[in-house]
Amino acid sequence: MSYRIRNEVVVLGTALAKAKKTNPPNVSAMVVDTCTEAVEASGLSWSDIDGLTTFPIVPGVGGTVDPFGRRTSLEGIEWVGVNYLAETLGLHQLRWWNSHDRGTVSVAFMSAVNAVAAGVCDYALVWKSMAVPTGGLAQPDEGGAPGEDQFTVPYGLGGLWLPRFALPYSQYCARYGATREHMATYVVNNRANGARNPHSVFYEKPITREDYLNDPMISEPLSKLDSDMFVAGCGALVVTRAELAADSPVKPAYVVGQSMGGVRTTHPPFVLWDDWAANAKHQANDLWKNSGLSPADVDSFTSYDGFAWFVYCWLEAMGFCGEGEAHQFVQDGRIARDGELPVNCAGGSLGVGRMHGTVQLIEAARQVQGVAGPYQVDGAEISVCAGGGAAISGSATFAFAKTPH
């Protein structure tokens, strides 16, 4: 493996809609507005955009019932895919498009980086939209639990994602002595970051340690504050080749490294801690190799935190701390915006809302562009983004730099 496109691709404009607790009448206008903002922030117009990609999946189910009695989500109302956006905007100039069925927005972003590097298109737009599921929690069909659900749902798994993610975290806690007291520090810091971000659903709504520690258990050791909240929202980024951005008035973020996750090595009905950790390590090792960077070079780290403990997994895999040490590492202000390793200064998923890694990706680009506003890390030149949950969620990692590296 030899990474061949270091410094060749850049992020130009980015845009983030304000995350909201309730859905707009449709997500179509929200997506069009947010993407238009990203295109214009790039100094471009829609006629320049010849690549499109997204990760369209919305978790949970919509309030619409199809002719077969299944709850479903409607394109344009609850989600926006590539065909829909291309047709709605009449993007006849498109040369490349791609839709991803697993993962987070990070996998779509990686495909866009590689598409522009290959030269199959010049300016690719990556976006992610989310809506609040209106159909209620997923419940097994009246006909029973099929597929792998038959080995989990009769035992009380289902309805919510928390038990599935509590199990591997229970292994971490038992092995390394991590407690909710430790995690309180991370969650409170992230909510403080989100409270400073005007695009967060939790803007000006920080929480205290007591709020976290007194939050009712849903699936021990997880409460709802360990999991990101459903929101309606959208984020978008434009990528192009560095050569095309040479005369741009927009400060670019150079993509100086990337890596993608593999698959888990065992297949019990839930993913074990060791599988999460091994997969994250696999991606982290590739990122350091591809970028030529090391953990000491990083000024800002953004980590997927759809569940808070994903951050422990990534901190350890990336080598910011040792195995089993992340719950100690996040203490003492170390991950604050002015700390040793600022983490998720925009608020991540826990502090902004469930955007499947979009906030982390946009923040990472903005940090090295110097346009992160209320969450800017002073003097940030290198940022790293771990864009997904590592093992099952299809994720990719990236390193961005202010100047070619």
Partner: protein, 141 residues
């Protein structure tokens, strides 16, 4: 008497042998006839040696709690409001051979990683018996 109305499994041809065995009080796990690797949930092809000749063998039903969570105030249909200890029971036959299950005949708080468990079967209606686990005094060899 079960106080929980559990969602019933909906077996496929691949999983039918598992539920047939449990309904007769046996825990059978799919095992590759070529390389003897166990698989759970069952698979169409062995991920270890790629054989498609997979059979079913009875296992001891003894294992260890490898992961544990306690669901409070469940929202799952038929289990609303219940406290449910969910465990990953790692069977003694093979590392990482794990059944997701419940701890029964115990307080929920006794679902602690490392404790030895053994299988019991709970009839849940529809002719199905669900493998569950209870604590044992056995020490791990």
């Amino acid at each position: 008497m079960p106080t929980i109305q559990r969602p019933l499994p909906s077996p496929s041809a691949l999983t039918q042998p598992f539920w047939e065995a449990t309904s007769q009080g046996r825990l059978e796990i799919q095992r590759c006839t070529k390389c003897a690797t166990f698989h759970h949930p069952p698979v169409p092809q062995c991920s270890h040696c790629r054989s498609i000749e997979l059979g079913w063998v009875e296992v001891s039903g003894r294992g260890t709690i490898a992961a544990a969570t306690i669901v409070r105030n469940s929202r799952l249909k038929g289990m609303e409001g219940k406290t449910i200890p969910i465990i990953g029971a790692e069977l003694e036959e093979q590392a990482n051979l794990i059944l997701l299950s419940n701890l029964v005949n115990a307080e929920a708080e006794e679902a602690v990683i490392g404790r030895p468990v053994e299988v019991v079967f709970e009839e849940i209606g529809g002719g199905f018996a669900l493998p569950q686990f209870r604590l044992t005094q056995r020490t791990n060899a």
